[in-house]
């Protein structure tokens, strides 16, 4: 404004001066008329005025352009662009304005930037808050779930506790060192209150003394729990006696180690079954069989002896038919006596009353003596028999009476269940800590369908019942019991004619193992065949 005013004032002044001077000059110097001077003056005046006007327009336009530019920049700044070129030109009002604007833009820029920062912080905060809100919700959900689960678990635990507590068998969960964690009612009853985790007195052992089934002391380190912890595997069906003040309770115990993912044993589950009654019934059954069998011996002896005398002609000579009939009586009686003996032997083994009296025994001698006993039967059936005993086989500490029964039985079976002219082989050898005996024949074989039942009491395979009517079905049952009581094993492989192949020849092979350490001596009341 100042500039424009200056221009106007200057222009007016110049115009006045020029026109005054001109007017004077024209009239005085050129001697023109006043009117002509006026006209010239008017022309000059008009020219100057036009020039001035042009200058003024120029200046005005220049200022307007700068102001427009400023205006545009200001608009851009308002729109958020702070990088507009703002340059101070000259020293006029616009320059001042520009300076002020530069400051303003700077301030605005700062303000906008700090607003942006604030907005960002605010956004972040909001985000965080949302997140926290979500977390809170999740926590609440989780807590609700946990509570529900807790309720469910506690209900399940109640059910489980109730199930465990009402089981008719003793259940005890202990630490590997035997400290009770959970013992059910029967368990507490069997072992004594010291095992009750609630009132445990910290002694970590059952209240009542425990012995082995034969009454000898039962060292803690040999009990199922200790063995299960030591060997890391279940120890099944170990019988023991728990001595209660009023009575002895026979318990069948199984201990199972419970491991974590790293196979560390966390606890041991013991299951105890009171088998006192079962044992008592079993004992009574055995006793009954024993008594009945003994009673049978008197009439059997009478039949045997009278038929013997008849056959001997002690009551006069018999005619051929009488003789034949009497012989039949005699054979049947012998068979019945054998049956009674087998029954008695089984009742003895089952009752556990049998004496085990190990002696250093030469198995070769034992087998040869049996073969001699069976010589007649072998000849009758024209079998060839081969006995092969590994050289240098040491004597083994076994009860010869019991093991004799095993060889005798296997050999008798081989002779009996092999058609005439068969081949029977006995082989005895040592493998690591075991003595393996093998009795094989090329006889009738055992049908595959019957093989699983072979060691059952009174079982006789289908194919031989018709061929050999004799036989109690007790022999293999008995020898299996003998071998197992000697910590050995018995197994077999057999193929009938129909089921045999090139590689699986017809016949039967039995193997049984005995530990080289031999049998453990056991006091008892009875022996076999007594």
């Amino acid at each position: 404004m100042q500039l424009r005013t200056k221009i106007y004032f200057t222009t007016a002044a110049i115009t006045l001066i020029v026109s005054g001077v001109g007017f004077w000059g024209y009239t005085a110097l050129l001697k023109v008329s006043f009117a002509e001077a006026f006209l010239i003056n008017l022309v000059i005046f008009a020219v100057i005025l036009s020039v001035l006007m042009l200058i003024s327009v120029y200046f005005t336009n220049y200022s307007v352009r700068r102001i427009n530019k400023l205006d545009q920049i200001a608009k851009s700044v308002v729109a958020g662009d702070f990088n507009q070129p703002l340059q101070v030109e000259g020293q006029d009002e616009i320059a001042d304005l520009t300076k002020t604007m530069i400051i303003m833009v700077e301030k605005a820029k700062e303000a906008v930037e700090s607003k942006k920062v604030l907005e960002k912080v605010y956004a972040e905060l909001r985000e965080k808050m949302q997140e926290m809100q979500l977390n809170k919700l999740a926590m609440i959900n989780l807590m609700e779930d946990m509570h529900e689960e807790e309720v469910a678990i506690s209900e399940q635990k109640k059910i489980l506790d109730s199930v465990i507590n009402h089981m008719p068998i003793g259940v005890a969960l202990t630490n590997p060192n035997g400290t009770p964690i959970l013992v059910n009612a029967i368990g507490v009853m069997l072992l004594g209150t010291r095992m009750d985790p609630v009132i445990n007195d910290g002694q970590n052992k059952p209240l009542y003394p425990i012995t082995r089934i034969d009454g000898t002391p039962y060292p803690a380190e040999e009990m199922p729990i200790a063995i299960a912890v030591r060997e890391g595997k279940p120890v099944t069906k170990t019988d023991m006696i728990i001595i209660h003040p009023e009575k002895n309770i026979i318990v069948r115990s199984t201990a199972v180690p419970i491991k974590n993912q790293d196979m560390q044993i966390l606890s041991v589950l013991s299951v105890m079954e009171d088998i006192t009654k079962e044992r008592e019934i079993d004992r009574m059954k055995t006793e009954f069989i024993s008594l009945a069998s003994h009673q049978l011996r008197t009439p059997l002896s009478a039949i045997r002896w009278f038929s013997e005398m008849l056959l001997d002609g002690d009551a006069g000579e018999l005619n051929p038919e009488q003789k034949e009939f009497t012989e039949n009586i005699s054979i049947s009686t012998a068979h019945m006596i054998e049956l009674v003996n087998s029954l008695l032997n089984i009742s003895r083994i089952e009752s556990g009353r049998i004496v085990i009296d190990p002696k250093p025994t030469d198995l070769k001698e034992l087998v040869e003596a049996i073969v001699k006993e069976l010589e007649l039967k072998i000849k009758e059936k024209e079998h060839t028999l081969l006995v092969s005993v590994a050289s240098g086989l040491e004597q083994i500490n076994i009860d010869p009476k019991l093991i004799r029964q095993v060889y005798l039985n296997l050999l008798t079976n081989a002779i009996k269940y092999t058609p005439k002219g068969g081949e029977i082989i006995v082989m005895i050898s040592r493998k690591d800590n075991l003595i393996i005996s093998q009795v094989s024949d090329n006889g009738y074989g055992i049908p595959r369908k019957d093989q699983s039942k072979l060691f059952q009491k009174f079982f006789r395979a289908d194919n031989v019942i018709k061929i050999e009517t004799d036989g109690t079905g007790l022999g293999l049952y008995l020898i299996k019991a003998i071998i197992e009581s000697s910590k050995g094993k018995i197994w077999f492989e057999s193929h009938t004619k129909e089921e045999s192949t090139e590689s699986q020849k017809q016949g039967t092979t039995f193997w049984f193992s005995l530990p080289t350490s031999g049998m453990e001596a056991k006091k008892g009341e009875v022996t076999l065949d007594a």
Partner: protein
């Protein structure tokens, strides 16, 4: 002492068995003293002039068991020397050991032997005893 046949005392309370044994001993050319109870046998021993050469004893008697009978035999030094064969229905080790300990010569299971095998056993005992006393 000149005696034609050896005499065997049989103590067996089962009548049929006693009959069979008596008959077999007789046909084996020996004399027999059949006793159906332990007490009858003791009475015989107390009253007869000549003691039997051997005793066949059933362990289970209705009036006494073999153990009591052996103890009674031991009470009399003369009776003690008579060889005794125990023939029984059962031969559990403790019974066998007790009877052998009390002086029985042998303890056998009834049903396992033929009569003539048992007679042979007794004959052998008698021979052994005579050798000792001669």
């Amino acid at each position: 002492m000149s005696k034609k046949y050896p005499t065997i005392m049989v103590v067996e309370d089962e009548n049929l068995l006693l009959q069979a044994i008596t008959k077999k001993i007789k046909v084996s050319n020996m004399d027999v003293l059949s006793c159906a109870s332990g007490q009858q046998a003791i009475d015989y021993l107390n009253n007869i002039e000549e003691l039997p050469d051997a005793i066949w004893l059933d362990y289970y008697l209705k009036d006494m068991n073999g153990l009591a009978f052996m103890q009674k035999l031991k009470e009399n030094p003369k009776w003690e020397k008579i060889p005794v064969l125990v023939v029984s229905n059962s031969a559990s080790p403790d019974k066998v050991n007790t009877m052998l300990g009390l002086g029985a010569k042998k303890y056998i299971l009834k049903a396992e032997y033929r009569l003539d095998q048992i007679i042979d056993l007794i004959k052998k005992f008698i021979e052994d005893t005579q050798e000792v006393s001669n």
